[in-house]
Subunit: 229 residues, 2 copies
């Protein structure tokens, strides 16, 4: 039996690793794609390779795109400080400054390009709206609009094929993601969620992502092995 | 008065240069974006810079994305020959082999990222369906689907803003494009349409793009200065 192929966007973080594990559990032949978009934490790319291999992705590819040249975000622009959880107007604010312009549009477009080459009609994305409700490109309506675009803009779609964008974590709390990652055997020590990690990948413990991850582990009643203490 | 900002995708070819000239004539403050997607004819990027300057774009940026790593097309894969006009199943065939997977989705996604940074709500693309009817991502329905996606996936859209994707050449013949380019003062000698040019930018005269361009100039009753003879 041939398994249906899926392209899974894999950043090296907890959410995307859990998403890859789910895609595999659901019976997909998974092709993991890491996009280097000029983010400062290139350590994520190394972790993504480790996770793709340990989880059993068929292939892992890295595509570089220098979004830093056209975007402006604390994640790609070294002149902007990464906000700390204590800063005003952070979690829950309208749109956080760590938002990368049109990021999910770019990521999904690249995933679609590879999917078309592979004959894959499923795309998986670790988007989540619970902790990051300020990111417009994590909304279900956005993901559905991308499916429509994909069907109109590809050979597969032009010949009657469908595309599905799966974002299985979309409505999960971080604690639910941590529990599911544990159940699925994700190597949590390899995942990196921090917006501003050290060169060795150690999390800063102060950025929004670190605070949310710690809260998630605490609520799940589990210890985070990535903290290394 | 502040002119509305537009991001114009500029490949260095005749169509995109004409599109940039139209965007400027229509009163836009135009930001030209060239995407290097691993295509073999890097000479296009040099020509794009010349054209952006001569036409009066406010800025020109080049973004590189290594689509060659995930795509398969005669334009990015050196192991595939560029088809010649005499080959069977070329112009008018279902989908030509020079089709780059999800290319316009990727190009527009990058244009959108810059547009969001700039506060531009217009994207210009030199897509054309007359000569290249086999490319699914040149269809009006595709472009409209991208507008919808852009509105759902950006801050600008999330706060009620609109995006427009302009493809003014969409239904024009090559002869009409040549005439309009001439009227607008586009430096035709600088434009490069060839799929397989020499290192000095000289067109091969045999690929589909060369044949269509020559036909366009002939029908327009004009001489193509890029042929250099």
């Amino acid at each position: 039996m041939t398994l249906p192929r899926a392209v899974v966007l894999l950043s090296g973080g907890l959410d995307s690793a859990t998403t890859l594990a789910l895609a595999l559990e659901q019976g997909h032949d998974a092709f993991a794609l890491t996009v280097r978009y000029g983010q400062r934490h290139a350590i994520e790319v190394e972790r993504a390779a480790i996770l793709a291999r340990s989880l059993g992705a068929r292939e892992h590819r890295v595509v570089s795109v220098d979004l830093a040249g056209i975007g402006r975000s604390a994640l790609t622009d070294v002149s902007l400080a990464v906000p700390r959880a204590g800063d005003p107007a952070q979690i829950g604010a309208a749109i956080p400054p760590t938002y990368v312009p049109a990021r999910n549009t770019v990521l999904l477009a690249l995933a679609l390009a590879w999917a078309e080459t592979l004959g894959a009609s499923a795309l998986f994305l670790g988007a989540n709206v619970v902790d990051y409700s300020g990111y417009p490109d994590c909304r279900p309506a956005f993901l559905e609009a991308f499916e429509r675009l994909a069907e109109l803009g590809t050979r597969h779609g032009a010949t009657g094929g469908r595309f599905r964008v799966h974002a299985p974590l979309l409505a999960w709390t971080k604690a639910e993601i941590v529990r599911e990652a544990t159940r699925l055997g994700v190597d949590l020590a390899a995942t990196i969620s921090c917006y501003d990690p050290g060169a060795d990948g150690r999390p800063c413990r102060a950025c929004d992502a670190c605070v949310l991850r710690r809260k998630g582990f605490r609520e799940a009643g589990l210890v985070d092995p990535a903290l290394g203490d």
